[in-house]
Each structure stands twice: as C-alpha cells, then as structure tokens.
Subunit: 257 residues, 2 copies
C-alpha cells in the first residue's frame, strides 16, 4: 500500500479505480465502504482528509478525532492500493477561490443546521473525483443528505463517476457508527439510543416524521425529515446529546445502492 501526500505523487492505476473518500477515524462503517470498493474495482484509493471547508464549527473541526496510524492499518487490511492523505494546503491553497455551490439538495436538514457544509463537501468531492478519476466512489448511507448532494453534483456537472451507497453499519445496541461516537460519555451514549430506536419505530407509521418526533424519548431533534437520495427515500434526523451532534436515517422506500 502506497501513502501519498501530494497530487503529483499519485500513481497511474490500471483498470477501474474505486475511491473511498474519508476524513479518517475509520470504523467498521468505513470498512464496509472499502470492502465494497475492493469487490467492484481493479484498484482502490482511499482519501484521508479532514476537510476544514465542510466544518461550520471550528471547535468541531479541532475536536474531530485523528489517528492516522490506526487508519493506515485498517486501509492496509482492507486491501487499499493507495492512501491519498494530502495537507490542507495541497487541496485548499491560500488563494483557493472556486467553489461548487449545491442547490435544493443542500437545503433543509444538515444544510440548514451547518451553513456552508455542503459547499465544502461538494467542492472537495469534485476535486477528489478530478484528481483520482475513479469509476466509482463510495459513500455511507448514514450521511444521507451528503449522498443526495453529491449525486446531484455529479449529475448536474456531468462528472464521469458512479456514486455507490453502502448501508449504515450499527453497533449491536443500534447506534449508527460515527467517528464522533468516541466523544460520547456512557450516559450520553445510553440517551443517544433513542435516535435509532425512534427512526426504526417510525418507518411504517402513516406520518413517519411525526412518529419519530414523538418517539425520541426527550431528545430534542434539530430536524426530522424525509430525504430523497435519487434511488431511495430515507427518514433522517439529527439530535444533540451533550456536546455531540448525531445524525441517523432509515430507509423508507427504494433500495440503498
């Protein structure tokens, strides 16, 4: 496995390349993305870049967990060919000034909660697609609105890449895996379980949004909404537990893929 820090060092990979964009702090959810990419492509590139441009909150950016040694071990185990781990300067030099501005897909939900977040996501994803030129790129269902924004961007700007979505991986207690979960205290983690439980219980309700809101067991949602991913619709919600913001979603219609 090759680890490269700059664009010019990236090797030419033969055949079809699968790209798994990550911000590091890898967990079993990322592993599922890597395994799917490994199965469907001739070579895989994993990017590892904590993208400041998509953090609306500098404190969240500073606190985002980083453990590159562990990330590289998981990437190696998963059969990654190249890890692309650029500096902030490599992707966003000081005079960077051209942004990808998403539209309706970026409104509501995470877009309203985190101003500028999806501009940062869309821009860094477009850049990675240009740099790596993958046939397929892999995203987790958990970041459902990110999937919607990236798919719209790819369609609107005619980017030659297929966006694949991999179902959310959960701990045995039902909590969706997230790099931010390590920051939950034990009692916070217990309270956080109301989020996946409320979403699961609301899936088949006549009004899933109202049903999920009613089942959150005292957690105050930032939003609960139905989101279209192109090939599926999901019931998505965000809650704050202590200092940690958590998001989750469940499939309502269609299929994740």
């Amino acid at each position: 496995m090759k680890v490269v820090r700059t664009i010019v060092e990236l090797p030419e990979l033969g055949g079809e390349v699968g790209l798994v964009p990550t911000m590091g702090a890898l967990h079993a959810g990322h592993r599922a993305l890597l395994d799917r990419a490994r199965a469907e492509n001739d070579a895989i590139v994993m990017s590892l870049f904590v993208n400041a441009a998509q953090f609306d909150d500098p404190a969240d950016f500073a606190a985002y967990p980083r453990d590159e040694a562990a990330d590289l071990r998981m990437a190696e185990e998963a059969g990654v060919d190249v890890v692309f781990a650029p500096s902030a300067h490599e992707l966003f030099p000081p005079d960077f000034e051209t942004w990808v501005e998403p539209g309706v897909a970026a409104r509501g939900g995470e877009g309203d909660a985190r101003p500028g977040h999806f501009r940062g996501v869309a821009t860094v994803c477009l850049k990675l697609f240009q740099i790596v030129r993958p046939a397929r790129a892999y995203f987790g269902q958990k970041d459902a609105q990110q999937v919607a924004v990236v798919r719209r961007m790819v369609r609107d700007l005619n980017v030659p890449v297929a966006i694949r979505v991999v179902p959310t991986v959960r701990d045995p207690d039902g909590l969706a895996l997230s790099s931010r979960n390590v920051r939950l205290a034990p009692d916070e983690r217990e309270r956080a379980l109301a989020l996946p439980r409320a979403l699961a219980s609301a899936r088949d309700a006549a009004d899933p949004v109202a049903a999920a809101r009613a089942a959150l067991n005292g957690l105050e949602p930032e939003y609960v909404e139905v989101r279209d991913l192109g090939d599926a619709t999901v019931l998505a919600a965000a809650v704050r537990v202590g200092a940690i913001r958590l998001i989750d979603n469940v499939l309502l219609e269609g299929a994740i893929g």
Copy 2:
C-alpha cells in the same frame, strides 16, 4: 465529421482530444482555435452551444447571431472530428441546481459589468470538460477574463485539462473579430476602431490604463484595466457602441499561450 446533439451519442475518441468550446457564429478567430487544436491533438471536438446561463441580458441572448449551417461548414473545413451541439435542456435541465462559483478572477471588468456571466461560463466549461474529457481546451485571448476565470477554475478544482490561449484575430482595420460585430452599423464600426487603437497606443505608456482612457476618442469605457491571465498580463477594456458592447485587450507582459 459527426454532429451529435446528446451526451450519450458522443463517440469514444482515441488518443488526446482537443476541445474548442464555441457559441457558434464562427469567424476567423474560431478558425485559429480550431487550427491550433488540430495541430496539437489526435482528435478535435468543437462544442456549439449558446449558453443562456452566461448571458446577463436576455435581449443579448436573443440577438446573438446563429447560423449552424455555416458553422458546420467551417468546422468540417477545419478538420473537426465531432461537433457537439446540445440543446439547452441537455446541458441545463429544468431542475439543474449545482453551479461553479468563481472568486476574485471573476470580479471587476466583465464580472462586474455582467452579473452571473462567469458563473455561467465556469459551469458550462466544467461540464464540457467532464463530458468530452479533453487533454487540451482552446480559448481566445479576446475573452481575457474568461481565460483567467477558466484557468483558476481548472487549477482550484484540479480538472485534468490544459488551457491553451490563442492570440486575438483582427480585421485589417484592427477591430478584433467578434460574433457581435455583424450587428454594428457602418458608422458604428468606424467609431469602434477607437478601442483597438487606444489599447495599442497605450501598451507602452507609464500608466497604460490612463493612456487608453485618454485615447478612446469619445468612446465611454465601461472599464479599462490590467488583467492577469496566469502566464501574461493584458490591458483590457469594454465600450458600448450604439447597442453593441465590445471588448478587447492587448498583451502587456508575458506571452499568450
């Protein structure tokens, strides 16, 4: 020569492809772009698309000259392999919503005179680069700020294409060729010559902007400015002659290429 109207019909072209994006109404300036592309690439694609998204003025869009039969003749003579002439709906379907937003390069000059113009230019160019995947794309020096915006976009978003600039082609009287020139009445055309003359006379002045303003022979400039193209700086100006807006520029430093 193949003429295609939809993205899916575009043939796979072997080797390195040169792209010449045009809005039709081809003149000898476009021919210079096509000739350069022909000399440097294995195959050339010419796009022919009057991009409503880059017209701030609907009347200008409606009046923009269109003569596809003549354009196709010139393309054939120039050895174009594929003309890509999509409908507006093919590139900008009604629910299109993801835009490329340029920054500083789009300010001043044409950017201030034509709000939204460079957003439209940057977006359609990125789309064409994704669709055609050229090794090189060809632009005229005359649209100097367009060159600056497209080069910044390509650099910022890591688009794998080289931007080539071809020197402005002029009529024997010095007027830069433009598709809009056909709309000038004879007396307007005579007055318009003050623009290239003022720019040429100001090139070597200590203050080229002031010198050009002073030499415009009564034409009122929208702007006169020095613009950085990355590898060259130019002295650029815009004037209105009757109903027609004309732009022009001359090299100050560096080399056009």
